[in-house]
Symmetry: C2
Subunit: 361 residues, 2 copies
């Protein structure tokens, strides 16, 4: 007999439908469902019965408009494929779920245009935070861009979290969750050097990526520490994929075949490198040692199992979420500039079976 809905659309039940059918007021239904107001047992039972009968769920949009609502985190990533990402995402998602938060995912595909669009989209959604994953590009313009995002989100009551990227310069309202990228590379290279390797082929990754730069820098520092001359001719930049690993080793085998170890910027790159070595009839690690970075599952699935640097991806995800959750609860208590907006997690070498001393010491 309702005047409101004449059509028989497949429209979902509203709180009014529930109230009407239960013979109570809309306010009461809301109270029963949110449970933050004393309600008689009788009323609760009556309402809940109707809720079940109608299979009613509250409209999240209406709820969040009215003030309540589930906090949401947005995860933005270049490429959703890629194990490292998956683990961070798992960490974020898991921690979010634990708190009853929701998580959105978006892929940028390395397109700045799209990245901008996504950040705005997330802003529209009123997300509690935007988590940006992956290495940053070392452009000035990039810094400015991120700073703008950070301020823009901040002004909208949201927050930017950078994961696995270097922190932004200046007084920018953003949180960074980082890992000791350079330190890991230093340790990894040291491991190789202390095994006796002197000529090491280095495949840092894309030259413009900050992670690649950091990894190269760490390796370089290790060479210095060991007093071993560093040969820039043994460094081959390129994308973080197995094809590059394969191609780089193939070329190096032709140009500078005297290397006894490969320091790959990523486990995936290492996998490619390993194949190229095998294809050339070289044994791993007997003839050439090889190490990776990231410690994704692939590392222990290869034969020999890959010695690599463990990066606590999943934990980074959890930490990132905790950071924004704390900040949100801390609310007025926290000021910008408070400590805790740059967190660095440790890395460590995982020794497996892909390293041996060079053939003839």
């Amino acid at each position: 007999m309702s005047q409101r809905k004449t059509s028989g659309d497949p429209a979902r039940a509203t709180i009014r439908d529930v109230a009407e059918r239960a013979g109570v007021s809309v306010a009461s239904v809301s109270r029963v469902l949110s449970g933050n107001y004393p309600v008689s047992e009788d009323l609760r039972r009556r309402v809940m019965k109707v809720v079940r009968d109608l299979d009613y769920v509250t409209n999240a949009h209406a709820r969040s408009l009215a003030g309540g609502g589930t906090p949401t985190v947005a995860i933005l990533i270049n490429n959703i494929t890629g194990a490292a990402f998956a683990h961070v995402a798992k960490g974020v998602e898991g921690a979010a779920t634990l708190r009853g938060w929701l998580s959105l995912v978006g892929t940028t595909g390395d397109d700045p245009e799209r990245e901008l669009a996504l950040v705005n989209l997330m802003r529209q959604q009123g997300v509690a935070a935007v988590v940006l994953l992956g290495g940053a590009y070392d452009y000035d313009e990039y810094q400015l861009r991120m700073a703008r995002f950070a301020r823009s989100l901040d002004a909208a009551g949201s927050h930017l979290v950078l994961v696995g990227r270097p922190p932004l310069e200046g007084d920018v309202p953003a949180t960074t969750v980082d890992y000791d990228n350079e330190g890991g590379a230093y340790a990894m290279a040291s491991h190789l050097l202390s095994a006796g390797h002197r000529r090491v082929l280095i495949l840092p990754g894309p030259a413009e990526l900050t992670t690649a730069q950091g990894r190269l820098k760490g390796a370089r520092r290790a060479f210095e520490s060991y007093g071993v001359p560093f040969d820039p001719g043994l460094v081959r930049y390129g994308p973080y994929d197995d094809e590059h690993g394969y191609a780089a080793v193939e070329t190096a085998l032709h140009d500078t075949p005297d290397f006894t170890a490969v320091l790959a910027g990523t486990d995936v790159v290492a996998a490619g490198a390993m194949q190229a070595l095998r294809a050339a009839g070289l044994r791993v690690p007997d003839d050439v040692s090889i190490v990776g970075y990231d410690d994704i599952p692939l590392a222990s699935q290869l034969t020999p199992q890959l010695t690599t640097v463990h990066v606590p991806y999943e934990e980074m995800g959890r930490v990132a979420l905790r950071a924004v959750a704390d900040r949100r609860e801390g609310g007025a208590g926290r000021r910008k500039g408070a400590d805790g907006d740059h967190l660095i997690l440790g890395t460590h070498v995982v020794v497996r079976n892909s390293v041996q001393p060079p053939p003839r010491g």
Copy 2:
């Protein structure tokens, strides 16, 4: 001078703020922004300037409450880690983005409780569709559960899409995007048989999972076609992970060491199996051949590169999204029971280097 907002909260600008500041009505601002109503050039310019000045973005919740709004797809998955998922997700997300849709992701962690909670959460969000990924459990209760989800979502104007699962029985409002699971296994096993293998260790996966059942069934059919006796003693169930692959081969090597090939239910399982064989001093494929299923990147990163069954995961994701998008646009035109609610994509064997005829004919 506004009476509405006294506090200086970091509250985002509303459409009213824009209207006020631009000296126009709220309706006009809305029109300029949605662009579906004729507006004078002058007004547009004035409004857009204020929008930029205030860095205003529309409130997605309010917008979708009022009728407009971006359609959203929810992707529900057991474990966000796992390459197969990642590719489906990529497909869904990519296709969604292409249409300006949004995608949400949730993980169930194999917990039925949590699955229910998530489906309800998505229902609250008013998502256009819920995409459920991964093999189904072969319980009756499970069928009922899914049917309930399907109807519940349907009643709320949403839609359930099952990807990589068998379709639901009966007249249930759900779409299924499936691949020829059994056919792929049939072809894969045939490949092994035609290479001369007769004793094949089969690691189908978890016995309760429909994908594992299908893969086993396909293999079995191949044995029949070739007139080769099928030995159930060579079948070892277990989880879809490398540890199981390793352990299963290790045991089999002790119990029934006469097998000459391993048919793994998954590339990851194959990776584990390969390691166990190597650990036992066996060469792959010289002593024992091995094949996988899924054709994830890992397959071509192993040495030797793995012969496996290609499953068009990413395309399945795209197809799934297209299905719901079409249905949504088709709107009143489509009836339930229309064709197109069960799509099956093909699989095929990818021959690489992990299969050779058995050692001695």
